[in-house]
């Protein structure tokens, strides 16, 4: 099976985008071999800026480039691309609605061995609470490549959440994606597993195993966290017995919260939120951490089987 981390898909798509759109410029904060902006750097050195370990300056520089018609993609680890520069994004990008794409790699506990300081589990919360910000969190290679190119066509600030953890390819080249539209996989009515990013594959694996046990569920891939696909969430609430959200993020303020907000106002129904239970992460292998924090396939199966 072809395994690829979305940060790698991002790097490849960015290089292609550089070829297609000469307004695209890339900024990085001394991490280009990890964020995978290196391919763009090597191909278009005159449009690449390594600002050093100075994330705040990187965000401000990106804002200035955007005011002059460039389409800056600013990339660093999610911990530093959101929390560390929250006010720079807020005051210099989101409020003035500048056309900057913040591409945050290494999101969530699946960063692994680097531990809690580098495992950003609050970024969806921070970014979706910020006016004018489009928030995306992609789940596989094909979807990520689409998103990287699609956001260049959207005029405004974007936060794109990416992962270090290698996952199988879910979609094929013909899949049609649309910003703001979730994707339904399967049509089981016993439960809807609403996921984003790395937990989409775990949810699909859970769906397949549950099917063998006679439990029919569906998976909803929410690649656009804001604006969220209200219609699809309400439809699933009506069509399925149970609703479960699962994310590599704090259960407070992330996908689970966003889903609950939609349902509380439109179709009140119990939701089980799976995610990091309001605690900081720890070092370890990504697979072990997903098991430890209860966001892997087995945890989802256990939840649905009522164990």
């Amino acid at each position: 099976m072809n395994m690829i981390a979305t940060r790698e898909s991002f790097g490849k798509a960015l290089e292609e985008l550089g070829e297609e759109n000469e307004k695209v410029v890339v900024l990085d904060a001394d991490l280009y071999n990890s964020t995978k902006t290196e391919e763009f750097k090597n191909r278009f050195p005159e449009r690449f800026f390594n600002l050093g370990i100075a994330e705040a300056d990187m965000i401000g520089t990106a804002a200035g480039l955007a005011t002059c018609g460039k389409i800056p993609y600013a990339s660093t680890f999610a911990a530093f691309a959101s929390g560390r520069v929250y006010d720079q994004i807020r005051a210099s990008i989101a409020y003035p609605k500048l056309n900057v794409k913040i591409c945050a790699t290494h999101a969530g506990i699946t960063v692994g061995e680097d531990g809690a300081t580098h495992q950003m589990i609050e970024d969806i919360n921070l970014m979706r609470g910020m006016p004018n910000m489009l928030v995306m969190s992609t789940s596989d290679d094909i979807q990520t490549k689409w998103a990287v190119k699609e956001i260049a066509k959207y005029n405004g600030p974007v936060y794109l959440r990416l992962s270090r953890y290698k996952t199988p390819v879910v979609y094929d080249e013909k899949t049609k994606f649309e910003i703001g539209k979730g994707i339904q996989i399967g049509d089981g009515t016993d439960a809807s597993i609403i996921a984003t990013g790395v937990t989409v594959v775990e949810s699909i694996k859970a769906m397949e195993e549950l099917k063998e046990k006679g439990i029919n569920v569906r998976v909803i891939d929410i690649h656009t966290i804001k604006p969220i696909d209200k219609d699809l969430i309400i439809k699933c609430a009506k069509e399925t017995d149970r609703l479960i959200t699962v994310e590599d993020h704090n259960i407070i303020g992330g996908l689970g919260s966003a889903v609950c907000e939609v349902l509380a106002e439109n179709y009140p129904k119990k939701v089980t939120r799976m995610g990091i239970e309001d605690t900081f992460g720890r070092s370890g292998r990504a697979e072990d951490l997903m098991r430890y924090y209860g966001i892997d396939k087995n945890a989802i199966i256990e939840e649905i089987e009522g164990l």
Partner: protein, 298 residues
């Protein structure tokens, strides 16, 4: 006194007294905005009135009829709380009406407490959260170089604002990319909200000059309330090739209104009726004085 106008730049007022008059009118508008808005930051607005008069009426390549012209020079007012001064010079230049100034900080006004580029023509960048403007100005200067557009970028920073670490991150970037089309201006009025800048962070204007020089800047220290010195400083900045420039502008907070001068209490306070009357009278006197000097020249 007449200065030689720079080649190819038409319609520029180069007479020092004429610029002094403009700066004086900017000061009148600053206190009027803050008086009507019952809110604002007079001290740090008045200190940069002369700098803004020179920038908008002598230095910058701009056209109020084409505020979005991609080849225009840009200004980032990093010390966004001096918004009243920026709006005043934009009104003086014709980007916005003088009447609009009376709506400063009101609920239906475009003139937000801190400048919003999407609400006011001529505002090149939204600012207000301190420390961020020099990074943004770097981005603009990089874009100018990438596209060989030749436009210049100016960035006004407060001396108190230099407390923010991001300024020094940005200073490294200005220097690394040899941004000789960037000119920062530090408004060294020596005061910030809670007191004396030197006491609060332990740096004075000499220290500031040394720091920027060590970061690779061409530095020019002047009296930032003296029109002639400001004009010359920008001229010197133009000549520096391969490195960014910074003008260390020693100014007086509250300049032009005697009861505000050098008084940190006027950092963020509106004028009452009596104070407004007194301030306006002083500026009207100053205008008469400049007129007399102009007559003397002729």
């Amino acid at each position: 006194m007449c200065l030689v106008s720079k080649g190819g730049k038409k319609m520029k007022i180069t007479k020092v007294e004429a610029l002094q008059k403009i700066a004086n009118r900017i000061r009148m508008d600053i206190i009027t905005e803050i008086y009507y808005g019952k809110s604002g930051h007079p001290g740090g607005s008045l200190s940069i009135a002369d700098i803004l008069a020179v920038l908008y009426f002598n230095e910058m390549n701009i056209n109020p009829k084409m505020p979005e012209d991609s080849s225009r020079d840009r200004l980032v007012l990093s010390k966004g709380h001096a918004s009243a001064a920026l709006y005043a010079v934009l009104a003086e230049k014709g980007y916005i009406s003088k009447d609009e100034l009376l709506t400063f900080r009101n609920i239906n006004s475009n003139l937000q407490g801190h400048p919003d580029m999407n609400k006011v023509k001529g505002v090149d960048m939204t600012t207000g959260s301190l420390g961020q403007g020099l990074s943004v100005a770097n981005g603009m200067a990089l874009a100018s170089k990438m596209d060989s557009m030749g436009y210049r970028v100016y960035c006004i920073i407060g001396d108190g604002e230099l407390d923010e670490g991001q300024i020094w991150e940005a200073a490294m970037t200005s220097s690394k990319y040899n941004l000789d089309n960037l000119c920062a201006i530090v408004d060294c009025n020596g005061l910030q909200l809670t007191g004396n800048t030197e006491e609060i962070r332990g740096i004075n204007s000499e220290d500031i000059e040394q720091k920027f020089r060590s970061f690779g800047f061409n530095t020019i220290t002047i009296n930032g309330n003296d029109i002639f010195s400001i004009i010359n400083a920008f001229g010197v900045a133009h000549m520096a090739k391969g490195k960014p420039s910074v003008i260390i502008a020693k100014t007086v907070k509250g300049k032009g209104i005697s009861f505000m001068e050098g008084n940190a209490a006027w950092h963020g306070k509106a004028l009452n009726d009596e104070e407004y009357k007194l301030a306006l009278e002083e500026l009207i006197e100053r205008e008469k004085q400049i007129d007399k000097e102009m007559e003397g020249d002729n």
